[in-house]
């Protein structure tokens, strides 16, 4: 299963007619639809930490499927609501949580990663760096904690570094399946999310999730995490 040529996201975008900004469009019925956001880097740009093959599948197949199914579920929800069909509305909640959550989480994930040349792996400076030292002792200690929780997660899910915007405290949390971080606390804002679904690493790391977790920090985009943190804790 060798990818002889990794298509860059730009080539693909041109080929498939995707817009330059993944985002929201409005259909003729006034219902907002969502589209797959572009990656800010090429599929191969995170190697060797994450293979180009995985990045391409993860973005073009998995994330795209969440977007497609989220739009479908929203349309069905719109119908059910306009008909006043309460059982149908309730029944659609899990599809919305799965697929909407998948879209939300992956949109954050792509921003959480950066090629080394673009600062991936560079430790956090400024207020986030201090907060990490304060709350966890050091960045290393935080990484160990997140890796331990990520490795121990049974089944599919995410491990998060978040900030509680009310308490102004950093937290490490896990969520199952595609549950967004906010399901663990309404005031939690995600700073870094690491996807530990098997599709995120299996082709490269097979069953050895701990190796994936160890290596992903080489391409974690702390700059983005700092920006989000500084916005919530100015």
């Amino acid at each position: 299963m060798a990818f002889r040529a990794l298509l860059t996201r730009r080539t693909l975008a041109a080929a498939s007619g995707l817009g330059a900004n993944g985002g929201v469009a409005t259909s003729f019925r006034g219902l907002q639809t969502f589209s797959l956001p572009d990656l800010p880097y090429d599929y191969g740009a995170l190697q060797p930490a994450i293979s180009g093959e995985i990045m391409q599948l993860h973005h073009q197949k998995h994330h795209q499927a969440y977007v497609t199914n989220y739009n479908k579920a929203l349309e069905q929800l719109h119908d059910a609501m306009s008909k006043g069909d309460a059982p149908a509305v309730v029944k659609l909640q899990s599809a919305i949580k799965f697929n909407g959550g998948g879209h939300v989480n992956h949109s954050i994930f792509w921003k959480n990663l950066a090629p080394i040349q673009a600062g991936g792996g560079e430790p956090p400076k400024g207020s986030l760096g201090w907060a990490i030292d304060n709350d966890f002792g050091s960045v290393d200690a935080l990484v160990q904690k997140m890796n331990a929780e990520g490795a121990a997660l049974q089944g599919s899910g995410w491990v998060w570094l978040g900030v509680d915007k009310e308490l102004k405290k950093l937290v490490v949390e896990t969520t199952s399946n595609q549950d967004p971080l906010v399901t663990k606390g309404p005031s939690l804002v995600p700073l870094i999310g690491i996807d530990v679904w098997e599709h995120a690493y299996y082709l490269q790391y097979k069953n050895v999730r701990p190796d994936y977790l160890k290596n992903i920090w080489k391409v974690i985009n702390w700059k983005y995490a700092s920006e989000v943190y500084e916005k919530e804790c100015p």
Partner: protein, 191 residues
């Protein structure tokens, strides 16, 4: 299902569940109990004890290998086919329901054909999907057939294309003999 997948699935995943379960129960009161007893006890009516995941996954994978054979596929026959037709209408309708359950189990999990000894609607055969390590044992049913839909079961061979994996399982791998044998046992126990 490639040899590559089998070597990881059986040789790494299944083996880890066994090794880790043994480590977890060593020196505890679970040691020495049957695997089924460990599963039911650690399921704890949904409030899972730490050993549940490993215990149930050991059992689930044993059962999964049993559910398949080289040159499998085709259709069931005899008593099993009769019951399938009685409870689902036709084999095709059962297959559709089973495939749909396998395809729509979100995240990690399993799809099952199971035997319910005390059905409120008279239908003893049921298709279920379960998350992560949960299996029909903890629901009081007898498992007859399973397909693993954790991504590790199909990612090397099919990547994101779970429906293709499910099709191949139904067409080429499922061992209806094994399912029939399990049905016989289930009915004898229920009688």
């Amino acid at each position: 299902m490639s040899a590559n997948t089998m070597s990881y699935h059986w040789g790494k995943h299944h083996r880890s569940y066994v090794d880790n379960l043994n480590k977890q129960i060593l020196g505890t009161e679970l040691q020495g109990k049957s695997l089924e007893d460990v599963i039911v006890q650690t399921y704890n009516n949904g409030d899972l004890h730490p050993a549940f995941n490993n215990a149930a996954q050991v059992w689930n994978h044993d059962f999964f290998w049993d559910s398949m054979k080289p040159g499998g596929g085709g259709k069931p026959s005899g008593e099993l086919l009769k019951l399938i037709e009685r409870d689902f209408g036709s084999f095709e309708k059962f297959a559709e329901e089973f495939r749909a359950a396998a395809a729509t189990q979100f995240g990690s999990g399993w799809a099952w054909l199971a035997f319910n000894p005390r059905p409120s609607d008279g239908k003893e055969l049921v298709v279920l999907k379960t998350p992560n390590a949960v299996n029909p044992l903890v629901l009081g049913y007898t498992a007859l057939l399973t397909i693993d839909v954790w991504e590790h079961a199909y990612y090397l061979d099919y990547q994101n294309r779970r429906p293709d994996y499910i099709s191949i399982f139904m067409e080429k791998l499922v061992s209806w003999d094994a399912v029939s044998a399990k049905l016989e046992v289930a009915k004898a126990q229920a009688a």
